[in-house]
């Protein structure tokens, strides 16, 4: 019986073993530091260059931008479901969020490609980078007509709709249900007596949520955020289809990028078996694995601590 229990442990060890076994070649032959911080990812040119820095920065930029959008939305959804909504809305909204969580990401990527990207490049870009600066220049106000107009003209021009921003929008859709469902569990676990005590002192609903419920659930909420970030980092199809695919270090949110999962998914099919490119992609996978492994460890640590506190405090 305990052998079966060990099955998942063995699987995890096997995943780590095979990833690092196949990745070892690239880190050994090309030098680990050179691979991780190398700025040139030209796997198919001659001689090939396997600098993963652009891929890592691609993942990082997409993740940060998505986190900025998705964390407030996810937490707001959780607060709405757990604290504000009445019973009927709650029974309706919760399954919807759950459905969004298992929504096929390839369809999200497809949606981003055929709808969001054209909207950005054909419609939003002319408005923001041409009409808006012209309007601002006409005002002849000190800051508006110069600095801000130039900023709009230079920075809000979107040459291709497939970029970090579009990818982040679609990744937000992926991250909201993950964050919302875990955060909702955390909020629901806060004992009712806390809220009653707060109300009896004359606090309002929002005051209670902000000053009592959220602080009491803060560790659970941070687990939700961390696992949400883990989902964003590992999400493959969306970044593969809408992030643009350019393996250069991005400088601005409308630049294209090639995050790590996209590089693996796009290139694995054409990388010859046991070639350096093949090993390099396993190297990217190994880095991805380490990232998500670390996030899991952190959130497990937090939630264990949190559980201990909860049991002690349970009224």
């Amino acid at each position: 019986m305990s052998l079966i229990g060990l099955f998942s442990v063995i699987i995890l060890i096997l995943i780590g073993f095979f990833l690092f076994k196949e990745a070892f070649q690239i880190f050994y032959k090309a030098g680990a530091l050179k691979v991780i911080f190398g700025k040139a990812w030209y796997p198919t040119s001659d001689p090939p260059s396997f600098g993963m820095f652009p891929l890592i920065m691609g993942t990082l930029s997409v993740t940060v931008l998505t986190a900025v959008i998705a964390i407030p939305l996810g937490l707001a959804t959780a607060i709405y479901i757990a604290e504000v909504a009445n019973y009927r809305v709650k029974e309706f909204l919760k399954p919807l969020i759950e459905m969004l969580a298992s929504f096929p990401s390839v369809v999200l990527g497809f949606f981003g490609m055929v709808i969001i990207a054209p909207i950005l490049s054909n419609w939003l870009s002319p408005v923001l980078s041409e009409k808006l600066p012209a309007l601002l220049r006409d005002t002849n106000l000190p800051f508006l007509s110069t600095t801000l107009a130039d900023f709009c003209y230079n920075k809000l021009f979107i040459s291709s709709g497939l970029n970090i921003f579009t990818a982040s929008l679609m990744l937000t859709v992926r991250a909201i249900p993950v964050i919302a469902s875990i955060a909702e569990d955390a909020l629901t676990a806060v004992p009712r007596t806390y809220r009653e005590a707060s109300y009896s002192l004359g606090a309002g609903k929002w005051e209670t949520i902000w000053k009592v419920v959220i602080p009491a659930a803060v560790s659970g909420l941070s687990v939700a955020v961390i696992l949400g970030i883990g989902t964003i980092i590992g999400e493959t199809m969306i970044v593969l289809m809408v992030a643009g695919g350019a393996a250069v270090v991005p400088h601005w949110i409308f630049d294209p990028a090639r995050p790590m999962p996209a590089a693996i998914a796009a290139e694995m099919a054409e990388a010859p078996y046991k070639s350096l490119h093949y090993h390099a992609l396993f190297g990217v996978g190994a880095i991805l694995f380490i990232f998500t492994f670390a996030l899991s460890l952190i959130s497990d640590f937090i939630s264990k601590k949190y559980r201990a506190v909860r049991i002690g405090e349970k009224v």
Binding site: V84, V106, G234, A265
Partner: protein, 295 residues
């Protein structure tokens, strides 16, 4: 949670700007996810519904995929998903029984729990790499139905374990005590009392897991999915077409990206109907079980 405290009783008498502002903000933002889901559904349905027909789902693609249906694609996804579930459910449920009934607190249990937790966070593309290295190469299954199903099985294992464990733990302790008091052994109790009582919950978890698996692309990209296969797979060692991969390939890699748009919409709609339909089934089943429980 707090519908027991009527809002009217605790609200301050005078108009409170901060209260109203933030509560309205939460009320608005809280619907974002639902609105997005609705928008995407309507968009795909609007563009895809006129493509769907009996022929579309029962005919193979013709003319370099620019015409015809998606029959082998649907069959591929169904085979992949079914085979994955046949493999993963026994392992997942046994692990759950172990965790809920046999495991004693200690190092081993901590390790198992930790590994399940970590496994659940591993990105799907990394499972794809694992499947490539182990099932395709080391075990020499090649790009095949079997390799893809096993990869998917490894990916969904943590989900099946945790939903099954929850179902088993929801069986009241008194059921177990009653059975043991009748002289049943532990294994008899599990087999005759606990498992049958937990079975609806386990099934619901499996249906929801099936929904998740059938929409996954990254794990099957280098382990099972083919751009084109002439018919339905005849053995476990043949590559298959699959709905999510079909959408990806037609939308990005084909030479007729614009010409195949209707087929892309149709395939996307089929996938959504399949995934969300199963999801809905699982959710309804779960709600009914919750309502029916008499203990």
């Amino acid at each position: 949670m707090n519908e027991h405290v009527p809002f009217e009783l605790v609200r301050k008498k005078r108009f409170n700007f901060k209260e109203n502002f933030f509560l309205s903000l939460i009320r608005t933002l809280g619907f974002t996810g639902a609105v997005i889901l609705f928008v995407i559904l309507v968009f795909v349905a609007y563009n895809g519904v006129h493509v769907l027909s009996w022929d579309f789902i029962t005919q193979p693609p013709v003319d370099a995929m620019t015409k015809g249906g998606i029959f082998p694609v649907i069959v591929g996804t169904v085979f992949l998903t079914l085979l994955c579930m046949i493999v993963v459910i026994p392992i997942g449920v046994t692990t759950a029984i172990f965790l809920a009934e046999y495991a004693k607190p200690g190092m081993l249990l901590n390790m198992v729990r930790m590994s399940i937790y970590t496994l659940a966070g591993v990105p799907s593309v990394v499972f794809g790499l694992f499947g490539l290295a182990v099932f395709v190469v080391v075990l020499n299954f090649g790009m095949s139905l079997l390799a893809g199903s096993l990869t998917l099985a490894v990916m969904i294992l943590p989900y099946i374990i945790s939903t099954s464990e929850e179902a088993i733990k929801a069986v009241p302790y008194s059921f177990k005590e009653a059975s043991l008091a009748c002289g049943a052994t532990k294994w008899q109790t599990i087999r005759r009392v606990i498992l049958p009582t937990a079975m609806p919950g386990i099934l619901t978890g499996s249906i929801l897991g099936t929904a998740k698996v059938s929409g996954e692309t990254a794990p099957i990209m280098f382990t099972a999915a083919a751009f084109f296969t002439p018919g339905i797979p005849r053995s476990l060692f043949e590559p298959v077409m699959a709905l999510p991969y079909h959408i990806y390939v037609l939308a990005t890699a084909g030479t007729f990206i614009e010409e195949t748009r209707p087929i892309q919409y149709g395939t996307a709609l089929t996938l959504i109907v399949l995934v969300l339909g199963m999801n809905l089934l699982g959710i309804i089943l779960r709600a009914r079980q919750r309502g029916r429980k008499a203990w």
